[in-house]
Subunit: 587 residues, 2 copies
């Protein structure tokens, strides 16, 4: 069991450490420590010794930092205390000793710094190929290995630090170069820093009043994304929402309102039966949204796809006509730019022509594929989005590597979101405030409070530039092509669909030796369907890598490899292949 | 303009610093620095000098840390470099030099540590009464003062650190002892640490596979919350959702499904016209949810409130009967435990009797008031919730001080959320995985990806214990009573409603001298309505404090003071009163 951060203020016993009663030595240490750790040491030194270089400080010092310092040497007066030689131990401190507790500043800084140390250690391991991606435990094991229960009494800060370590011990290293399990992988350092800042600022997106910078950055960032989509002047509207499913639901909601604004007051009872269209390979959130919005999943028509997973436009048109003949009202086509499993891009130009012809709202679910708009080499795959799409879902937390969660819904027509969602709650969105109220975003959202999701994207964008995102995306697509070329003719592999992948999705079966050269019948399919789940389970038990599998339509379980991880390299692709073969050859 | 963290590796020129070419001295520094900053120094020292105490390290060291160290002294070869004496400057480093860049570890650790230093400085200022709550700038000023635009080219890490400082310079100090503007205030140190950890773990709640600990903690925490509500054995279901508005929408969605499960497939067209009931003081999200779900805002009947803002049960029953007579189907009553403005608690027991009599789903919106369940002294205000409520919204990010965002929806009947929302997306929620799939939460959610909101609440609960939350809540309510007692008979104050506040909401008009003893007519009301906005604008311009105001019904703009901030003390209440009088006496 690790001892968390016990040594922070433990002076005077270990070899090589100085004498805390000798301020000269301690002061020298402080000066030295500042070279290594920046401003935090300055603050700590000031608190510990009542001096130190205060040039980086502004306004936050106590009247007599020395008093805090002397207390700092032992703050446990009145509590059970194991102090020897001025040692401060977390074993006798609690959350109630942290700020805003009086004299809590030094303890708080020490505690948060120790948490950061734990996080940085974990973060470094994330990138280390010699560590496990996952230390897998079954739910019942995990429940038994540690006491996770909540109690009436507080735990000590020592226990809290231990808990942080334990939590990370069992976490999945989603930034590990060999983690390929989801569309969102990787751990961006600037994004992480931005998320830490967001947590520290701890505010809410609903008004400019309480989130001035973040509200402006959302405005700037959404406009930039609309420019990249290609809408004239970046005009339009949008919002960062809690994930692609909600973004897609927003699109349906706005499309319905655009066609039948009375639905807001009168409900679905007052309008004709609506029908939405999306491909059979589209994300399940289109159906989920239809269920929630009172449209019903039966009113979502699934359009057939070609063998590459792209929507077949002629089938779309046929089904639209059919719906109209039944007296229903087609109101939305949700085309997919980057399907979840195949990574397919629906033919947006042809779909757009159909939407135009039948006057239907065209939504593009680019949650996964939207990122390709950042690449001059690959953006053609979304051609048509600029001219026709009425709304676009685009999740920077997927292909652009922004920490979870960061999903944008972009809308071409300005003002529509506001009309659709506003409830004129004057107690929240006062109309007589002293600044330009157009910056208050709360009333156009479905949410009231809304987490700040923009800052991590914005700061990463500043740090990488558009060209940095482009380089990342191009590299991921190159790696996918490398994988495809490596396995397409390799013994024991069958591709789920032919041809070079359009996105980073590479879908394949691994066929173990016992199933090679066997007759293609039901029994073989049955056995093949069990291969990927067993290999995946073994991967997780060894903890070496993670990749997803699933069935789709009449195709039994196959691996879906995706690459969005900036840490992944050719060696990791090679490793994945070797690992699948190692774990699957006996099946 | 501040110079962010430029000095990290700047050796050899400043007074008192040692000689970097002398490893003996540097090593001594390292040993000293470790005493101040824990494990991070160990790592940095190892990287810089190729040795140092590695006992806290596990598996993350490079084959030859010395080579990184020597490079570390100047990594800018091949770039424009201002190096003197081995100085490393962020002015020549970019995001591409950070991990996963090869040899990026030392730079990354230094960069993140410098970000943390900036955050800790901000965090300390948050609690310092001598600093401003807000450095207010109008949107156009803020857009002009700094270039917030996104560009093709990357910025340097120096610019990124500067940007972090600038962002925080204009941020609202939501943890400041004099920030009372929202229901969510304060900055909890353990919650902050937990949120930093959550960002670092960077995963998604949808399966146990990729978030084993967080999924279990959600299970443990929701069960504990249901126990505290008083449902037998803590049985039931629930989810952490992105805010109270979405939690309330979930409740409507589930209530509708419970009564008419066919709505999921067939939509609202297939079922009778539904009607929901909530008080005229309830949160606007009930109407917003009804609009989104295709029920329509006209089908939300607003029940009259008494003078304290509590729903009048007899009016509820009358309106239910009326709706039934019209052939509509009453399906949901959303009672409020802690209204937004008055902090009123609807009479849950009587409302429950009515819901029972007419077989209507009873939802309790305890987004604001739910926290009082943690207090033995105040939980009686929610009496009835344990026996009757079918669902409860409870936002720990409000009264319990958990960082934004943390909102729970608790449901009494198990399995209903799953049936209501599941879409059987086998490509995401594989049914042949090797662990107990009941822990996969994705298919019961409206969202697909879902941010980890539970860890900050759970870790705070461990650190404070239930008694810690109780003490915080009791203290906030005491402070509200202190304010109430202080102003109820004070010259220049009029209370919006009589009697001691039930929650921490204290609603009052400040009447400036010019309006005292004037006739109570329209002109006076008109002038009084402008007082709070002007005082608020002045507060923001001085930056001294922030408190909300709003009109409600026939009552013109009044101040709504709320206290959820753990940093607030009696002196801050006194300050608020003085400040209102200082800023408003000339009006």
């Amino acid at each position: 069991m690790a001892t968390p951060g016990a040594g922070f203020w433990s002076f005077g016993t270990e070899e090589g450490s100085g004498d805390p009663d000798n301020p000269g030595t301690a002061k020298a240490w402080c000066q030295a420590a500042q070279k290594f750790t920046g401003g935090i040491s300055t603050k700590l030194c000031a608190l510990l010794y009542g001096d130190g270089d205060k040039t980086t400080e502004t306004g936050a010092t106590k009247a007599d930092p020395g008093s805090a310092a002397r207390k700092g040497a032992c703050t446990c007066s009145g509590k059970p205390c194991a102090c020897q030689k001025g040692e401060l131990s977390y074993a006798f401190l609690h959350a109630s000793d942290l700020l805003p507790a009086s004299e809590g500043e030094a303890i708080t800084l020490a505690f948060l710094q120790d948490v950061v140390d734990i996080l940085l250690q974990y973060m470094v391991k994330n990138f280390d190929r010699s560590t496990k991606v996952i230390d897998f435990h079954y739910p019942n094991e995990l429940l038994q290995e540690y006491n996770w229960e909540l109690a009436d009494q507080p735990q000590t800060l020592e226990e809290i630090l231990l808990t942080c370590r334990t939590t990370l011990k069992y976490a999945i290293k989603t930034g590990h170069p060999r983690y390929f399990n989801q569309l969102s992988t990787g751990l961006d350092m600037v994004g992480l820093a931005a998320d830490w800042l967001t947590s520290t600022a701890n505010t809410n997106m609903f008004t400019y009043e309480i989130a001035p910078v973040f509200v402006l950055l959302e405005y700037v960032t959404l406009r930039k994304m609309r420019e990249i989509i290609g809408w004239p002047g970046g005009a339009g509207d949008g919002i960062f929402s809690p994930g692609g499913a909600i973004s897609n639901m927003y699109a349906m909601l706005i499309a319905r309102f655009k066609m039948f604004p009375e639905v807001k007051e009168k409900g679905m009872a007052a309008i004709p039966r609506l029908v939405a269209f999306t491909s059979e390979h589209s994300h399940f959130s289109v159906k989920k949204g239809a269920a929630a919005l009172g449209i019903g999943t039966d009113s979502v028509v699934l359009i057939r796809c070609d063998e590459r997973g792209k929507m077949i436009p002629s089938d779309l048109e046929r089904r639209i006509v059919e719906a109209k003949q039944k007296g229903f009202v087609p109101f939305l086509v949700s085309a997919t730019a980057g399907t979840t499993v195949y990574g397919a891009f629906d033919p947006l130009i042809t779909i757009a022509d159909i939407c135009k012809k039948y006057k239907i709202w065209m939504h593009v679910d680019g949650a996964w594929g939207g990122g390709l708009l950042m690449s001059r080499k690959h953006k053609w795959k979304l051609n048509g989005i600029e001219r026709y799409a009425n709304s676009v879902t685009w999740n920077p937390h997927k292909m652009m590597g922004v920490p979870l969660q960061c999903s944008a819904l972009l809308v071409r027509e300005e003002g529509l979101m506001q009309s659709c969602n506003q409830m004129h709650a004057s107690y929240l969105f006062q109309q007589d405030k002293h600044y330009d109220l157009s910056y208050d975003t709360g009333d156009k959202a479905l949410q009231c409070g809304r987490h700040v999701d923009v800052f991590k994207l914005w700061l990463m964008w500043r740090a990488k530039g558009t060209i940095g995102f482009e380089a990342h995306i191009d590299k991921c697509l190159d790696l996918a092509e490398y994988l495809y070329n490596k396995i397409k003719n390799r013994e024991g592999y069958e591709m789920v669909f032919d041809g070079k992948p359009q996105h980073t999705n590479v879908c394949f079966w691994y066929v173990p030796p016992s199933l090679r050269n066997t007759e293609d019948n039901e029994e073989r399919m049955n056995r093949l369907s069990k291969v990927a789940p067993v290999i995946k389970a073994r991967m997780m038990e060894y903890g070496t890598t993670m990749v997803s599998y699933q069935p789709l339509g009449d195709k039994v379980n196959f691996f879906r490899m995706v690459i969005s991880n900036p840490a992944a390299a050719h060696q990791d692709i090679d490793f994945l292949i070797e690992e699948i073969e190692r774990l699957g050859q006996d099946l």
